[in-house]
């Protein structure tokens, strides 16, 4: 953000995860310090900066314009930063994670990133329309309304190569064209912000960090296809995103970017927010539409596609949050600039939520075509020390686990699909040698089985049967033939389900069987969990040579399974042990072993 005066500016990242790490307390601590000490500095809020592993994050921009980023800056550290840096002009070096002209380890976090969708996230105040406009906001909408016909917009999108970021990757220009050409007076546009994939937080971060960019993209879509009304379908679990979106809609209406007679053009567009009520299947567009209509969110057969017959049976365009957030950038900067990023078939950038067993987990945006290894190692800093990388889970419950041998494939829709996973909406959960792949398959099946709407028999019953088999394998009761049975059920569910949920539910199982069959076999044939993760197949012991009898483990054990005299080796009663791992974590002498 451009600086407004010669004062020092302090910006606190206030996204949900920042707040969870204590950023709201940090913000009030700065407020208090400034007031008490009469400090003349400007305090600002912003959204997700992306370095989630460093939350809470605070930027200090000096009167000279130099920017210093502090990480893990908890409220108790605020006083020193105010005194030494804001007032004294001397940065507190030990808490700095990024600063211009200095070589700090986190500098490399952004080296490979290209932030188009996240252009404003972590930069502007998401609750200020003025800051959005100052950053070039609503220029694209103005240009579209004043200078472009709907067909111009569609041609521009087709030339940009933008594909749907919700996961399936359907070309956005073609989708809009279908909805535009569909006959009908009344049309609708929808933002799918029902981010239900466990392990994904891209949409939340975009809405919390830059809600206007999505709203502007939606308004452009409405103008292009000829829609009069739009809906944001947002998970109710994202209260902060909903709050900031409401502010954005109110402010944009007041300034005339949405509402009646936009920019004097005669084009009117009304926007509503619908809070999802918790159903993963509503990520599927026909189910989402049924949910907005107030029904059970059950998918229906396509065609007719929503572009022809969607909400209230009218032509409807539905895109994901990230897709819409791309639109204003493409219109403002041109299709060619966008298509300069990426590969032959996948243009532009992709936002990923990097999480799991990774050193620098956060919200990242990289150009398509970067390899998975580059994202995990160069951006994410690899798996934490002492562990080895095993696989990365892409695409959530619809995706699959990509093993280490495919780490050098480029990130594009086709290459990822070839591995058996999918691009998905952008969840990237890293797994190391302590993660059991059979357990991960069970975890996802548990999720999809629970979320199956029940319409198609194969999805409803088949996922239940698959889950039962996986449960017995991880419980040490696997039988010969279970792997083949899982494969057969998986193939049948894929071919006999109506919607994407069922058609992709077996993917996490099939990919783990394909790449980690030995782990399944170890569970079934040897009753052994190679990752030492499945409770039924592991045993905790205390190594008498290492145990010094400090009694810490015995005190920690919640079931009283550990006994022993002080200063003498302790033992674990295997009948009582619940394998909660508390003793192993508590032992300072590595005396607790798992086998």
């Amino acid at each position: 953000m451009a600086k407004t005066g010669a004062t020092v500016e302090v910006t606190v990242g206030l996204s949900s995860c920042g707040i969870a790490a204590g950023a709201a307390d940090v913000f009030s601590a700065f407020q208090r310090e400034f007031k008490e000490k009469g400090v003349d500095a400007r305090l600002r809020r912003t959204g997700c900066v992306g370095m989630c592993y460093r939350e809470p994050i605070v930027d200090v921009v000096t009167s000279g314009g130099a920017k210093y980023t502090y990480g893990e800056l908890t409220a108790d550290r605020v006083g020193r930063v105010v005194e030494e840096h804001v007032v004294g002009g001397k940065p507190v070096d030990e808490w700095l994670v990024r600063a211009e002209g200095r070589e700090l380890p986190d500098e490399t976090y952004y080296d490979q990133q290209v932030r188009l969708v996240l252009r404003n996230a972590g930069v502007i105040d998401p609750e200020s329309i003025d800051e959005y406009i100052d950053a070039g906001g609503y220029e694209a909408l103005t240009k579209v309304i004043k200078e472009m016909s709907p067909d111009d917009v569609i041609e521009e999108l087709k030339a940009s190569g933008l594909r749907g970021r919700g996961g399936a990757g359907f070309p956005t220009g073609i989708k809009w064209d279908l909805a535009k050409k569909a006959p009908g007076e009344m049309k609708y546009v929808i933002v799918n912000a029902d981010e239900g994939d466990p392990g994904a937080f891209m949409d939340r971060s975009i809405l919390e960090g830059d809600p206007h960019s999505v709203l502007e993209g939606l308004a452009i879509a409405a103008y292009t296809i000829g829609a009069q009304e739009g809906y944001f379908y947002v998970r109710a679990e994202y209260p902060l995103a909903i709050k900031r979106l409401r502010i954005a809609i109110e402010d944009a209406t007041e300034r005339g970017f949405v509402g009646e007679n936009i920019l004097g053009s005669g084009f009117s567009f009304k926007v509503h927010i619908k809070e999802g009520a918790g159903a993963f299947v509503c990520g599927e567009e026909t189910a989402l539409i049924a949910s907005i209509e107030g029904q059970r969110g059950m998918p229906r057969l396509r065609p007719p596609y929503p572009a022809v017959k969607g909400l209230w049976a009218k032509p409807t365009n539905n895109n994901n949050v990230e897709t819409y957030a791309n639109i204003p950038w493409i219109i403002s900067n041109g299709a060619a600039a966008y298509a300069a990023y990426g590969t032959e078939s996948s243009k532009g950038t992709k936002v990923f939520a990097l999480a799991g067993k990774i050193t620098r987990g956060g919200l990242v945006e990289v150009p398509m075509g970067l390899t998975i290894r580059q994202v995990i190692d160069e951006v994410g800093g690899g798996v934490p020390e002492g562990r080895s990388f095993k696989a990365v889970q892409l695409g959530g419950p619809s995706g699959g686990c990509v093993p280490v041998e495919f780490m050098d494939i480029p990130i594009d829709y086709e290459s990822i699909t070839k591995t058996g996973a999918i691009m998905g909406s952008g969840g990237m959960v890293v797994m190391d040698d302590s993660t059991c792949m059979v357990d991960i398959a069970r975890f996802f099946l548990h999720f999809t089985q629970d979320e199956s709407c029940g319409k198609c028999t194969f999805c409803r019953v088949g996922t239940k049967r698959m889950l039962e088999i996986l449960e017995r394998i991880t419980a040490g009761e696997g039988r010969e033939g279970d792997i083949e049975l899982l494969e057969e059920l998986g193939e049948k569910i894929i071919s006999s389900s109506l919607c994407g949920l069922g058609q992709s539910a077996p993917n996490p199982v099939l990919t783990t069987i394909k790449y980690f069959r030995d782990e399944y076999e170890a569970h079934i044939n040897e009753k052994r969990c190679p990752a030492l993760s499945c409770k039924a197949l592991i045993t905790y012991d205390i190594d008498p040579d290492k145990c010094i009898g400090c009694t810490v483990c015995a005190k920690k054990c919640p079931v009283g399974a550990i006994t022993g005299e002080r200063k003498e080796a302790h033992t674990i009663d295997q009948d009582l042990c619940t394998k909660c791992d508390a003793c192993r974590q508590a032992c300072k002498f590595d005396a607790v072993t798992v086998r």
Binding site: I19, P198, G294, Q295, R296, C580
Partner: protein, 163 residues
């Protein structure tokens, strides 16, 4: 006897809430879900009588109301504790030990996953992703999110709410 009178009075209050919320949405399409959401927000759960009343007011058969309410994870058919402890079981939390967090909380509060303590203070609930994956494992109580937890820290947090 006194108890039943109190219960009847409470139900009368709930029905009033249903009337009031439904009246705001009269004649609007697709209003079943927002009405259920707002009524639950104020009542705490959706008793059968309340769902029936909402159906009458919106002109929707009670079976359809129940169908919608039972379809979505957000809606509850039974009262919950004063504090609902939501334990995230998203992928990132799962691989970072969410199971141990649930076990510790259930042990601490003496309830099964999904159940409410006898004093009506806490409900432990496993939920799908809360979207704070980089802080895994995570729990949420009211609007407060707690991240990077160990089982012991999770116990401490609910103890603080208990005091």
């Amino acid at each position: 006897m006194e108890n039943m009178v109190a219960q009847d009075e409470r139900m009368a209050e709930y029905l009033e809430v249903a009337d009031e919320v439904a009246a705001k949405y009269a004649g609007r399409r697709g209003s079943v879900i927002p009405v259920l959401q707002q009524v639950q927000e104020r009542v705490g759960y959706l008793p059968p009588e309340v769902m029936k009343r909402i159906g009458e007011r919106l002109g929707v058969p009670p079976a359809q109301i129940f169908g919608v309410a039972s379809f979505y994870a957000q809606f509850r058919m039974a009262p919950v504790g004063k504090y609902v402890v939501k334990v995230c079981h998203g992928t990132a939390c799962h691989v970072q030990g969410a199971g141990a967090i649930t076990d510790a909380l259930c042990d601490e509060l003496g309830v099964a996953d999904g159940a409410t303590t006898e004093d009506g203070k806490f409900t432990v609930e496993s939920v799908a992703c809360l979207g704070c994956c980089s802080l895994a494992p995570v729990i949420m109580i009211e609007d407060n999110t707690y991240g990077r937890l160990t089982p012991d820290e999770a116990r401490k947090i609910v103890r603080e709410y208990g005091d």
